[in-house]
Amino acid sequence: MKQVILIILLCVSTLTANSQTVYMTRSGQVSFFSKTPMENIDGTNNEVTSLIDASKGEIVFAILVKSFRFEKALMEEHFNENYLESTKFPKATFQGKITNSSSINFTKDGSYPATVEGDLTMHGVKQKQTATGTITVTNGKVSAVSTFTIKLADYKIEIPSLVADKISETIEIRVNCKYEPRS
């Protein structure tokens, strides 16, 4: 956790050196969907901090688990107390590399397919994660969208058998972040 903040601070402090290569948002959006025939559950977080260092091809996300908002208060409560244990593990982070960053021109408008590889940490468990998505450059602004799935069991999140038919074993994560260049 401390590392991510350090990285963010480092990036911010080195901004003056290469001001156009770092893109940041503090209000990015990450949602997750659990679909079963019994019930669909989705939660959205609008307070995601993320950084892209275009010159190094690095991408970082930091998320506060308690910032996810659900349609039903009960879902939010179960998500925080029973599954993600957000008091014990308040943050989720992703630290990774854009593996094809050389084919993305951050200075030219366009839509570029992107593959990201790195470490996703949530519920106190760190796992390798790969995701594909699209990076769009419009007038110097950058946006990133991606949809990928994770297995709850990989993050030691157990679903009690009583509600097993209401919660999917694989969860779909959707990322939608609009970045501003740091100047």
Binding site: S27, E47, L64, L74
Partner: protein, 134 residues
């Protein structure tokens, strides 16, 4: 016999009402909850110096934060965000507001009530409402 089945039916009705109410229980309303008064500067310093301890005091609690408005912005859904000034040059207290366009200006001293969801370089407050402009 009739009495017993009547009792069972009544119990079943009560049980379904209770389950339905629990399933649809309302979201937290920070306006109605008791709050911890704190200054923006003190709140930020607490998290900066010792995040785990600050989490035990503030995480998931309703806070009533007083500070100077340093920025008024919006998130990707165009929900207004008020940033309160701290001693840190870059980061502050970011409050995602519940209501429409808040009637504040940069530099004004305000008090904002909302749920503290933690520290991400900024301290994040959600479901926030403006309590008063000083």
């Amino acid at each position: 016999m009739k009495k017993i089945s009547l009792v069972i039916i009544l119990l079943a009705i009560v049980a379904s009402v209770v389950i339905y109410k629990m399933y649809n229980k309302p979201h937290r309303d920070p306006k109605k909850e008791e709050s911890i008064p704190v200054s923006a500067i003190h709140l930020f310093r607490s998290f900066e110096e010792d995040e785990p301890t600050a989490n035990t005091i503030y995480l998931d609690k309703v806070l009533e934060i007083t500070g100077n408005v340093s920025e008024i912005t919006a998130n990707q859904n165009l929900t207004p965000i008020i940033v309160l000034e701290t001693e840190n040059m870059v980061f502050g207290i970011r409050c995602t507001m519940d209501n429409a366009e808040p009637n504040v200006v940069v530099g004004e001293t305000v008090t904002i009530k909302g749920i503290c969801t933690g520290y991400l370089s900024d301290v994040i407050i959600t479901n926030a409402t403006l309590v008063k402009n000083n």
